[in-house]
Every structure is written in C-alpha cells, then in structure tokens.
C-alpha cells in the first residue's frame, strides 16, 4: 500500500510530533513535574498490556461461546473486560465489535487520523496509518482488499467502518471451516491482526 512518497510524508509528520513531544517532556522535567524514567515506565507498562494476543483471545472466546459473542456484539467494552483486558489506560476507550458473516465483510479505517484499538491489537501496522490506505479503502474497499489477497463475491456486502469518533473497532472474523474440535487456545493461534482489522480472512 505504501510507496516512497507515503513513507516520506509519514516520517515528516512523526518527526514533527516527536520534536513537539520532546520539547514538552523537557519543559515538564525542568519544572520537576515528571522524570524521563517515569515516562519510560508508563509507556513500558502500557505496551506490555496492549498486545494483539488480547484481540485474538476475544475472538477465540466469541467462536466457542455463543453467549459471550452476543455480549461482545452488544457491548464490547464490558465483554472485553470480562476477559481481564484493561481498556482504561490514560483515557477510557469504548470498543465495538462487528461480525463478519456469510453476507457481510467488515473492514476498519480511521480516515481522519489513525484511531485504532491499541489495547486489543497493540500498536497499529504502518500501512494502517498510511494516506494510501486511509484514502483508498473508503473509495474502493474491494480493490484494497484484493491488494491484501482477499477476494470477496460481488454480492457479499462490504462495510467500511470509519472510526471518526469515540469508538474503536475490531472485526470478529468468520470461524474457519474444519476447526470444530479446536480448543480456545488453538483457535486464538489462528487469528491475525489483519483479520481483526478486516484486511485478511482467518
């Protein structure tokens, strides 16, 4: 999805932001409000909990437990908390789960910036933040999905969820055929990050 232009653009933007953050941290340190160690420890603690394995576990549970799946689709924020996933880092986050079915395929984007359910999926892939993905997936989702190797029947509805606001989305993929006897742990190993964004089938 990304040509060299997108990379240059992304790097410029992140360099600007990173300089601003450095200046802000520098000012707060000089005033004795925080220390670099405190910042590092906070980020470390956040990232150690924010892992794709959380999302994989949620999906595997939904595949084996129909009642959990109903709770997940009705109110993902509280259903996810049942599994002990901490969504309450520095700002409360609301999660919504959308289910792929035989007639509907869901795919997630944030066209305005790069909103992403970090607590469930870890930091987002670079392509998810690229202008190419963000601008094209809302205009031609089937074309973008084909670039990811996902070919859908023309009659299957594709719904693009533009996370414009307060909610963060995960896709619950269709459970793969031939996994009837699989344990929850074995099922979780089949799930991928792209599957939870909707740019891959599982």
């Amino acid at each position: 999805m990304s040509d060299s232009h997108d990379h240059e653009h992304d790097h410029e933007t992140s360099a600007e932001i990173s300089n601003r953050v450095k200046r802000l941290i520098g000012t707060l340190e000089r005033r004795g409000i925080l220390t670099e160690e405190h910042v590092d420890a906070t980020i470390q603690s956040f990232l150690s909990h924010a892992r794709p394995a959380n999302g994989f576990r949620v999906v595997a549970r939904a595949w084996v437990d129909g009642e959990f799946k109903q709770r997940l689709l009705a109110d993902a924020t509280s259903a996810v908390s049942e599994l002990g996933v901490d969504l309450s880092h520095w700002a409360p986050v609301c999660i919504r789960a959308v289910e792929n079915t035989s007639v509907l395929h869901n795919v997630i984007v944030c066209t305005l910036c790069s909103c992403y359910p970090i607590s469930l999926l870890g930091p987002s892939p670079a392509w998810y933040k690229s202008e190419a993905y963000r601008s094209k997936v809302v205009r031609d989702p089937r074309g973008v999905l084909e670039e990811f190797g996902v070919r859908l029947a023309p009659e299957k509805e594709v719904r693009v969820w533009d996370s414009t606001s307060e909610l963060r989305y995960i896709v619950v993929p269709e459970r793969p055929a031939g996994t009837d006897g699989f344990s929850e742990v074995a099922l979780a190993e089949l799930v991928t990050t792209n599957g939870l964004i909707g740019t891959a089938l599982v």
Binding site: C94, T111, L112, V138, R139, D140, P141, R142, P154, E155, K156, E157, V158, R159, V160, W161, D162, S163, T164, S165, E166, L167
Partner: protein, 90 residues
C-alpha cells in the same frame, strides 16, 4: 434526537477548526443504525471551549450515495457522527 432506522442527511459545513465529520461524508444521505450514547463534543473541545456532551450516532451510507453511480454495489460506509452534524432527510 434521532432513532435507529431514521433517514438523515449530513450537513454541508466547512468549519475553520477541528471537526469529526469527514469531508467525503458531508451533504450525504444515510441511515441511523445505532445510538452510541453521549460523548464530549470534539469540535468544541479542540477549540478549548468548555466540555459539552452530545449524542453520537452510527450512520450507514450506501457507497453510491457517497461516490456516485460508478461506486461498487453492495458496499457501505459506517461512521459515528455527532447529532449536530445531522439533519432529518426530507
């Protein structure tokens, strides 16, 4: 207030400051599928004005209503939009 199933149209607007109504979804007809609750209205927050809660709705748009007749069929876009971005479809 809107209800699930109601047909709405997004407003045409071009504010100087921040908004969460993407440009490509302005002036488009859509259908409310869900009331998501009330949230702090981002457009005012971004201007440093006092916090105000506002209703947020999930609105689904047919891709052809957004991009025109040459958009693929069976394709839709869903976005969570604040109440003040929406008006009843007439």
């Amino acid at each position: 207030m809107f209800e699930a199933g109601e047909y709405v149209r997004t407003r045409v607007m071009n504010p100087d400051g921040h908004t969460r109504l993407p440009g490509y979804l302005r002036g488009r007809p859509g259908r409310i599928v869900n009331y998501a609750g009330t949230f702090l209205f981002s457009d005012l927050r971004a201007r440093g004005e006092p916090d105000v809660l506002q209703a947020l709705y999930t609105v689904v748009f047919d891709a052809r209503d957004v991009w025109g007749a040459d958009a693929a069929g069976a394709t839709s876009i869903a976005a969570d939009l604040f109440e003040s971005y929406l008006e009843k479809q007439t």
